[in-house]
């Protein structure tokens, strides 16, 4: 575990490597809080979703906000995004007195990462349609089954996961920005109210974008399962019709399988050929009718 203070002690980054470090971290935090102000701290679990190398990486950290400082408890060697934020803050020319600049920068970086991750997911969502369209085209010779689209299903499940993380990330970041809006009224904050308002608006816009993508995801997954389900039902329909068509013939045949004493037709010379013809007609006429009515398509 390591601790690093940035920008005149207003931002402290605590790096936690393993689960056992949490107790030590708690002690460091308590130490930083100097005991007296424990009641005013706000702990906010924040999720960052960053796109990189064709995948979305999720980082979970805890942000502790105090009137005069902000602490981030990060896993492992720290969240790469926050390294950038740290570098930018250290190079900035007019460091503010409070934690508000770091606070603002963290939320902003989170939103930017979420935008990138959403872009990646949008690209992924766009790839879902292609295999579906292909499967639908191939349907003429071979009907669509569940086993045709496992890849699509996996993709959809993955996108759903990623969207969930992005949605919760945006929600926590917006909450972080909302807290900042309440606190940034103090003089010397280095962050103005319109800036924070803009940040919250960005968060709300992103929320709407995520909602739209969730809608799209739902549309696509419903489309996939509907396509399969329709194909299944069609097969069931065809076979049910065929099966029903053979029933009258079977009935006729079974009729002469009975063992009554007096059944004179049984001993007529051509009766068995007439019987075959009868069965044949009983099958063909309904097939013809049904096919003409278009119920077999």
């Amino acid at each position: 575990m390591s601790v690093r203070s940035i920008t005149r002690d207003t931002w402290t980054r605590v790096f936690v490597d393993s689960g056992s470090d949490f107790e030590t971290a708690e002690r460091v935090v308590a130490n930083r809080l100097r005991g007296s102000e424990v009641d005013h701290e706000r702990r906010l679990p924040v999720t960052f979703v960053a796109a990189g190398g064709g995948a979305a990486h999720v980082y979970e950290l805890t942000v502790i906000v105090l009137p005069d400082q902000i602490m981030t408890i990060e896993p492992g060697a720290g969240v790469p995004l926050l390294q950038d934020v740290e570098a930018r803050l250290q190079w900035s020319e007019r460091p503010g007195e409070g934690p508000h600049q770091a606070w603002y920068a963290i939320a902003q970086a989170g939103f930017q990462a979420a935008v990138a991750a959403l872009g990646l997911m949008e690209a992924d969502i766009n790839t879902v349609r292609a295999p579906m369209a292909e499967a639908a085209r191939a349907e003429a010779s071979r009907s669509l089954g569940v086993s045709d689209l496992p890849r699509v299903n996996e993709l959809l499940v993955d996108i759903d996961h990623a969207l969930t993380h992005v949605a919760s990330s945006i929600a926590t970041l917006t909450q972080l920005a909302r807290l900042l809006r309440r606190e940034c009224t103090v003089p010397g904050a280095g962050v103005t109210r319109p800036q924070v308002d803009a940040l919250i608006q960005q968060g709300e816009a992103l929320t709407r974008r995520v909602e739209f993508m969730v809608d799209r995801h739902r549309f696509l997954s419903q489309g996939v399962s509907q396509q399969i389900s329709t194909s299944d039902l069609n097969i069931v329909k065809i076979f049910t019709v065929l099966w029903a068509i053979l029933i009258p013939g079977t009935t006729l045949i079974n009729w002469y399988g009975q063992n009554f004493e007096v059944m004179p037709e049984l001993s007529w010379e051509y009766s068995s050929w007439v019987q075959i013809l009868g069965v044949f007609l009983l099958a063909v006429i309904p097939i013809y009718t049904v096919k003409r009515a278009g119920q077999l398509r």
Binding site: D39, H40, R42, P45, R142, S143, V146, S147, D148, L149, P150, N153, E154, V157, D160, T164, A167, S168, A171, T172, T174, Q175, R178, L179, R182, I200, T207, E211, V214, R218, S221, Q222, S225, I228, S229, D232, L233, I235, V236, F239, T240, L242, W243, L246, G249, T250, I253, N254, Y256, G257, N259, M263, L266, S267, W268, Y270, S271, S272, Q275, V279
Partner: protein
């Protein structure tokens, strides 16, 4: 109850220590926190302000110059062990306020948000009006509700995973999922939905409370629009969770439908395929006198082969068409 009957917060003297007041000296201004089980204190309030707070209030009403605002918020339980599943308990808070005095009737378990608000008020230098204090309380409660929503969101993520696991996605190998397998997930989903509904209701109550404060008019230091927009933002997030529950439920049901359709399909196909052989077999079960094939030496073998052919050729065709998947 060994301690004082109420935790005092008079905004005049910003002390945290409880002040035992005589029954006939309830404060005229400040913030009075009362436990709902504290009948004596409630009786005192009734005697002094003419306000009955021990009866349930369903809607915001005005009574004896006080505005009564009921709040019912599902708040996450503070448990030391994080491994346990998220649990929530309903916090029924009744708020009564005049421009000078704020009374909150609270449940017996301590509510963090209120303690926080009290500390914040204690730290502020100027004496805030009761409405400013109330806005602060509402903000804190809204933050606590955000936590509720965040936890629900986590629960839902787990449930979504569980739904995918229990339904097995589109995979069709091995044991198939049945109605019984998803029953548990469906029950959990129902619970989550109810919780979200109550959260949204709670947020609506908070919003209504904030509007009542604004209706009071007069000079106010705090910015209502910020508070209202914060509450609305939280509600939007809660509604998003509601949509998520619906999505999970729908996908669960669709997968189940899909699998059941598939089973029906396979059995229909199999039944239909075996109908023509049955027809042939039945044909030779007839008792016609003139059926020369019955007397042939290879007759039975021939019919058997035809039957097999009639069964296997359609099966092969169906398999090629992919109708048995």
């Amino acid at each position: 109850m060994g301690r004082s009957y109420f935790e005092s917060v008079t905004m005049q003297d910003n002390t945290e220590s409880s002040v035992q007041l005589e029954t006939n000296q309830l404060p005229r201004q400040g913030w009075l926190r009362v436990r709902a089980s504290d009948q004596i204190m409630l009786g005192n309030i009734h005697r002094q302000y003419g306000l009955r707070l021990d009866q349930p209030v369903k809607h915001a009403v005005e009574e004896q110059g006080f505005v009564l605002l009921p709040l019912d918020l599902p708040l996450p339980d503070r448990e030391p062990d994080a491994q346990a599943a998220a649990s929530f308990s309903s916090a029924e808070i009744l708020i009564a306020f005049t421009p000078e005095l704020l009374i909150s009737v609270e449940p017996d378990h301590p509510i963090d948000a209120l303690r926080r608000a009290q500390n914040l008020l204690a730290r502020s230098s100027a004496a805030p009006t009761s409405r400013d204090a109330l806005i602060l309380v509402l903000e804190e409660l809204n933050d606590a509700m955000q936590e509720t929503v965040a936890r629900i969101s986590q629960v839902l993520t787990n449930l979504a995973d569980q739904a995918v696991d229990s339904s097995g996605g589109f995979k069709m190998e091995g044991r198939q999922v049945g109605v019984a397998d998803i029953a548990q997930t469906a029950v959990l989903l129902g619970g989550a939905e109810e919780l979200i509904a109550r959260t949204v209701q709670g947020q609506l109550m908070l919003e209504r409370a904030a509007r009542w404060v604004r209706r009071g008019g007069g000079e106010v230091d705090f910015d209502y629009s910020t508070t209202l927009s914060d509450i609305e933002g939280g509600r939007r997030h809660a509604r998003f969770q509601h949509a998520k529950v619906r999505n999970i439920q729908q996908s669960l049901m669709t997968t189940l439908d899909l699998k059941q359709n598939q089973i029906i399909k396979v059995f229909t196909v199999v039944t239909a395929v075996f109908t023509p052989p049955t027809l042939i077999a039945a044909y030779y079960g007839q008792n016609f006198a003139n059926m020369p094939e019955l007397a042939l030496g290879w007759g039975e073998w021939f019919v058997m082969a035809t039957t097999a052919l009639f069964a296997l050729v359609p099966l092969a065709y169906i398999k090629r068409k992919g109708w048995l998947r």
